[in-house]
Structure formats: structure tokens, C-alpha cells
């Protein structure tokens, strides 16, 4: 059985992600934050199950749907929130925003706005592990849509060829914006493609954090033993539309039905884990309520932290481009 403290940790982080995203939706509606936001609600089990199977000195990299991954890896929601608010105390001093959270101090090599562009990068971190003779693992999250990019093919081939300790986690939430993966991926499952690289491919119920944890643990074991990469497809669902601000998309085009959304909400990943833990007598409903309350408060605090953080100053503009600033005409 997966140790209780790991399960509690997962429940905590999934709840934290959920509450974080809910708070963002409100802040976006009220106009308090700007830019596009891709929420992770509904998919919490994928990143959480995967990240809890990693060590602190393992690496992750992510994509535009970008808040769940760092929080699942144990990122600081104060800094994450401040970043999304464009503030100086944010993870990237306000320069990155929602799609570019990163915390190199705990192995979060950054979220990325260009679809699939983190896949080679994470592969490179795994290459470093091998070249240095270290034992750390690198894990990258990408979507069903992303799986069609050439970058995935090249990276998977490289990783398999060189036996790199990298785990490719495809979060198949079944859509890229409005396009069903059935209209973008020419086989039934993205994990089926693993055989084309000679690596194991695993299709996992992405609503089940424990299943994600187990599949990832297996992949981590392989990776640390020098047996190479694994492709994990977590089948999941996003509740919100592609990004906040694009809410009209659902109404205008019938890319998915309300019924479908409701069906998936019935398999809510937090509910599934919670119910399972209660039925296993690992926690009570009251424990969960307390945990949830704690997370709601921590997100409140993060909001306050962000709101109270100053904006960057004009003189910060040119910092961080190069190690030592270069002056241009």
C-alpha cells in the first residue's frame, strides 16, 4: 500500500491546486489579474500522483497549463500567486507570469508557453543526470495536443536510444483548445506510441492519484536503474475551458457537451482519493474538511501576499536577460 503520509500529501496538494485555481478564477473575473490563465481543475491527480513519486532533487518541466505542476512538486504558492499577479516577489519577479512559473531550487525547471517545448529540455536534464553519473530523474508534463509535435518524437527517440532517466507524462485531457485528441492523434492512445521508441507505454486513469503515483514510481525505478524512459498517458479531463477569457468557446462551438463535462465531474480526482482514503480508514471526512480549510486559508494568504507585493520597478526591466547586462543603442 502507498504510505498514508504520501496519500495525505497528495490529498493536500490536490486540494491546494484546486483552491488556488478557484481563487485565480475569481481574481481574473474581478480584473485583478491580467493575461491568459489555463486552469488545472479536474486534472489534479495527474501532476500530484506523478510529483509525489519524485524526490526533491528530481526535476520537472511543464507547459502552459501551468499551476498544477509546480504546486504538485511542492512549490511555494505565495511566490506562484505573486508571479501571476506580476509582482516583484513572484517566482520570476513578475517577468514570467502564469505560463512561466519555475523554482530551480526544488527542481522545477519551468513551465512553458510554447507547446511541447519543454520536452527536449527535460530530456536534456535527464542527459545531465546520466553524464554526471548522478541518479536524479527528470519528468515532463505535456498535453494530448502537444504529443503531435515533432519535439516529442525527437526527444523520445533520444531518450530511448541513450537510456535516459526521463519520464514523459502525457496529460490527455482529451482536447487541445477545441480539438478532440481523436481528431489530432492518429492512434487510439498516445501511450501506444511508446512502442515506436522501444520504451514502455502505460495508460493510466488520470483521475486516480494513486494509479498515477504507482505508474510514476515504477517509471522512476526503471529510470534510476538506468533502464531508460517511460511514457505515461494519464487520461483526464479539464472542467474549465481552455483558458480563462475563452469561455465563449464552449457556447459558440459544440466541441464538447455539458453532459460530458458532468459525467467527468462525477469522477472528480479529489473526491476519488478522499473517498478511497476514508473507506480505507486512513482519514475521516472531518480530517478532509480540516485539510481543505487549511488549504483555503493558505490560498487566501497567498492572495494577500501577492496583493501586498510591489510591482517591479522600471530599472528592473533589463535585469535577468544576460548574466551581466549588455547595453544596446
Amino acid at each position: 500500500m502507498i504510505p498514508k503520509e504520501k496519500q495525505v500529501l497528495m490529498l493536500e496538494r490536490m486540494t491546494r491546486i484546486r483552491q488556488f485555481e478557484k481563487a485565480l478564477i475569481e481574481s481574473q473575473k474581478s480584473g485583478e489579474i491580467v493575461g491568459s490563465l489555463h486552469t488545472y481543475i479536474g486534472q489534479e491527480a495527474v501532476a500530484t500522483g506523478a510529483c509525489v513519486a519524485l524526490n526533491d532533487d528530481d526535476y520537472i518541466a511543464g507547459n502552459h497549463r501551468s499551476h498544477g505542476h509546480p504546486i504538485a512538486k511542492g512549490g511555494d504558492i505565495n511566490k506562484a500567486m505573486a508571479e501571476i499577479f506580476g509582482r516583484k516577489d513572484g517566482y520570476c519577479k513578475g517577468k514570467g507570469g502564469s505560463m512561466h512559473l519555475a523554482d530551480f531550487s526544488i527542481g522545477i525547471l519551468g513551465e512553458s508557453g510554447i507547446v511541447a517545448s519543454s520536452v527536449p529540455v527535460a530530456t536534456g536534464a535527464a542527459l545531465a543526470s546520466k553524464l554526471k553519473g548522478k541518479n536524479f530523474v527528470s519528468l515532463v508534463f505535456f498535453g494530448d495536443g502537444a504529443s503531435n509535435q515533432g519535439a516529442c518524437h525527437e526527444s523520445m527517440n533520444l531518450a530511448a536510444l541513450w537510456n535516459l532517466p526521463v519520464i514523459f507524462v502525457c496529460e490527455n485531457n482529451q482536447f487541445a483548445v477545441t480539438t478532440s485528441y481523436r481528431d489530432s492523434v492518429s492512434v487510439d492512445h498516445i501511450s501506444d506510441r511508446a512502442s515506436a521508441y522501444g520504451m514502455p507505454g502505460v495508460l493510466v486513469d488520470g483521475q486516480d492519484a494513486l494509479a498515477m503515483y504507482e505508474a510514476t514510481s515504477e517509471a522512476v525505478k526503471r529510470a534510476r536503474k538506468g533502464e531508460g524512459p517511460t511514457l505515461i498517458e494519464g487520461l483526464t479531463y479539464r472542467y474549465e475551458d481552455h483558458s480563462l477569457g475563452l469561455a465563449s468557446v464552449r457556447r459558440d462551438s459544440s466541441y464538447r457537451t455539458d453532459e460530458e463535462i458532468e459525467e467527468w465531474i462525477k469522477r472528480d480526482p479529489i473526491e476519488i482519493l478522499k473517498d478511497n482514503m476514508i473507506s480505507q480508514k486512513l482519514i475521516t471526512q472531518k480530517d478532509f474538511d480540516d485539510l481543505e480549510k487549511k488549504e483555503i486559508i493558505s490560498v487566501e494568504k497567498a492572495l494577500n501576499f501577492a496583493r501586498n507585493s510591489p510591482f517591479p520597478e522600471p530599472e528592473d526591466l533589463f535585469d535577468d536577460l544576460f548574466t551581466d547586462p549588455i547595453k544596446f543603442a
Binding site: V34, G35, S36, E83, G86, R87, C92, G94, K95, G96, G97, S98, M99, H100, S112, G113, I114, V115, A116, S117, G145, A146, N148, Q149, G150, A151, A176, V177, T178, T179, D183, S184, V185, L246, V249, D252, S253, Y255, F311, P312, E313, P314, D316, L317, F318, L321, F328, A329
Partner: protein, 323 residues
């Protein structure tokens, strides 16, 4: 409205010519408006939703254009990095490399979405880089009329055209002539013909894409101080209407170029170098470049606006040329 004029142009061209088709990610749902109604009218054979594979589908568009199709491909400028090889190695080079055999009537709509906290990965304005590469026509329309007329010309053109659409203009209003009022019955704007969008005598301001909005605001302010600015929109960067710029500088003796792209090796640098090479003796003061600062686009709204040209910077630049 800019995006509506674009939509009109696409409808007119798809109506006119069966070999025109429209392709891109989520274009059937028409998230950004320009492809609104196309799928309903033209159906799945002429309006294609693609997987996330820009190199693959832009390459496919190029390949289809070689054998008689006239694709219009929708993408964001920032997503063209993954498709560079097909754009540069194939679209731009094929015709020359094959001694003229290839005809490549492919139009790419490259939307530039800077200025609204899109951050570094989504804010590219890469037309200067494409200008450096022979074989591509580079279009940068700044008004509803121009985007309609230049889109229609692009679709009919037999060379690869990239239309850099400034998303800051998407909602702007402006007159678009009714087809019935036009002699030819439709709006076709030739490439390589710039436009004087405001006449003046003291200083020439060349504005690119969305920069013209700021140039016009600056000119209005400067007029109050008795400074008369002539604003020129080249409209297409390749081919570039050098004459209209050189003639204006001959008149004003001063030049400010306003360019929302990064300043190093920019269109602004190019225009300044052309004017100093060919119109040096007409210049009465050093030309001034107002372009994006040479740094990535930060997310935070506290810093992003500092990067781009604005009316204030233009006003100062114009005054600098006159002092």
C-alpha cells in the same frame, strides 16, 4: 473593424476561387474571429482544423500550393519558431532553388499578440527576421482597409506571403470601401505601395503596424505645439516602398522610424540605413529609431509598456530631430 475586414477578405477569396482553403488550429471554432463563419459556409474540405504540428501543416500547405492549391494558414507569430524550417528552407527557397519551376501561393496569417501581458513566449514580432530572408513577401497592415486589400492581394499572389497582424489593431475601426463603390468591384491593394496617412512638413515618421496608432496620437499632440509631422505607413515591408519614404524625407529633412519589433537588426534599422545611404544629403538631423527595447517581453503590466513605442517616445524623438 480590422478583424471583420479580414474575415470579409477571406470570404471573398474563398468564394472567388475554389482552390483557396483555410487551415490552422481550432479555426472551425474561430476563437479569434477572423475565421468566423467559414466552416459553416465552406465545410470540412475547405476549413481544416489541424493537430499541433506547425512544421508539419505549414509544410503541407506549402506542398499543396505547389500543385495548385492556395492555402491560407492561421498561426501566431510565436508559433512559427517550430515551423521555421518549412517556412525558410521550403517556402522561401523553393522557387529560386528550382529555377522558377515552383509557384507558391501560400499565405500565412502571423498574429502578433504583444502588449497584453502575454509574456515572452507569446509576444513575438518577428518580421525583421523574415525580412532578412529572400523569397518571402512581408505584409504589415495597420488599418481595416489595408488588411482587407492586402489579404486579398496575398491570396492571389503566387509567392509566399506572411501577413503580420498586430493584435492591438484587431478591434480598431476604420472605413472599408464598399465593393460596389469601387471601380473594379473589389478592394485589392498592391504590394510595395506605402501610404501617407497624415501629411506634414517638419518631420517624417515612418510607422509600422500598430505603431501608427501612436504616431497619429503623437502627431496630434505635436500639431498643438506647431510641429507638423508626416506619417508614412509602408504597409508592406517586402517589397518596401523606398520612394515614398525618401521623397518625404526630401521634404522634411527629418526621420523618425517607429517599429514595435526589437530594435537590433530591425525594420527600423533597415529603413534608417536605406535613407542614410540613399537620402543622406537630405537629412538635416540624425534619424531616430523608436523600436522595442532589446529585451524579452515581461509578463508584468508594470514593465511591459516600457518596452514598446508610444506617443510620448515619438513626441520626444520628433523634437530631438528638430532641435
Amino acid at each position: 473593424m480590422y478583424v471583420e475586414a479580414l474575415n470579409e477578405a477571406i470570404f471573398e477569396e474563398m468564394d472567388r476561387d475554389e482552390s483557396v482553403y483555410y487551415m490552422g488550429e481550432d479555426v472551425r471554432a474561430s476563437i479569434y474571429g477572423a475565421s468566423r463563419g467559414l466552416f459553416e459556409k465552406y465545410g470540412e474540405k475547405r476549413v481544416l482544423d489541424t493537430p499541433l504540428s506547425e512544421n508539419g501543416f505549414i509544410g503541407a500547405a506549402v506542398g499543396s500550393s505547389l500543385v495548385g492549391m492556395r492555402p491560407i494558414v492561421e498561426t501566431l507569430t510565436s508559433f512559427m519558431w517550430v515551423a521555421m524550417d518549412q517556412i525558410i528552407s521550403q517556402a522561401a527557397k523553393m522557387k529560386y532553388m528550382f529555377g522558377g519551376q515552383a509557384s507558391l501561393p501560400v499565405t500565412i496569417r502571423a498574429v502578433m499578440s504583444y502588449g497584453g501581458s502575454s509574456a515572452a513566449h507569446h509576444s513575438d514580432r518577428s518580421y525583421p527576421m523574415f525580412m532578412n530572408m529572400p523569397g518571402l513577401k512581408i505584409i504589415a497592415p495597420a488599418s481595416p482597409e489595408d488588411v482587407k486589400g492586402l489579404m486579398k492581394t496575398s491570396v492571389r499572389d503566387n509567392d509566399p506571403c506572411i501577413i503580420f497582424e498586430d493584435s492591438n489593431l484587431a478591434g480598431i475601426k476604420g472605413d472599408v470601401p464598399e465593393n460596389n463603390d469601387l471601380n473594379e468591384g473589389e478592394l485589392l491593394i498592391p504590394f510595395g505601395k506605402g501610404k501617407i496617412i497624415r501629411e506634414g512638413s517638419d518631420c517624417t515618421v515612418v510607422g509600422i503596424a500598430g505603431a501608427n496608432t501612436h504616431a497619429l496620437n503623437a502627431a496630434t499632440e505635436l500639431e498643438k505645439e506647431g510641429i507638423s509631422v508626416e506619417i508614412i505607413d509602408p504597409r508592406t515591408l517586402v517589397p518596401l516602398d523606398k520612394e515614398i519614404i525618401l521623397n518625404s524625407v526630401e521634404k522634411t529633412g527629418r526621420l523618425v522610424v517607429v517599429d514595435p519589433a526589437h530594435k537590433v537588426c530591425s525594420a527600423a534599422s533597415e529603413i534608417i540605413s536605406v535613407v542614410t545611404e540613399e537620402g543622406f544629403w537630405n537629412l538635416q538631423a540624425p534619424p531616430v529609431k523608436i523600436a522595442a527595447e532589446q529585451v524579452h517581453i515581461p509578463f508584468t503590466p508594470a514593465l511591459e509598456p516600457l518596452i514598446f513605442p508610444d506617443a510620448e517616445k515619438i513626441i520626444n524623438a520628433v523634437k530631438q530631430t528638430i532641435e
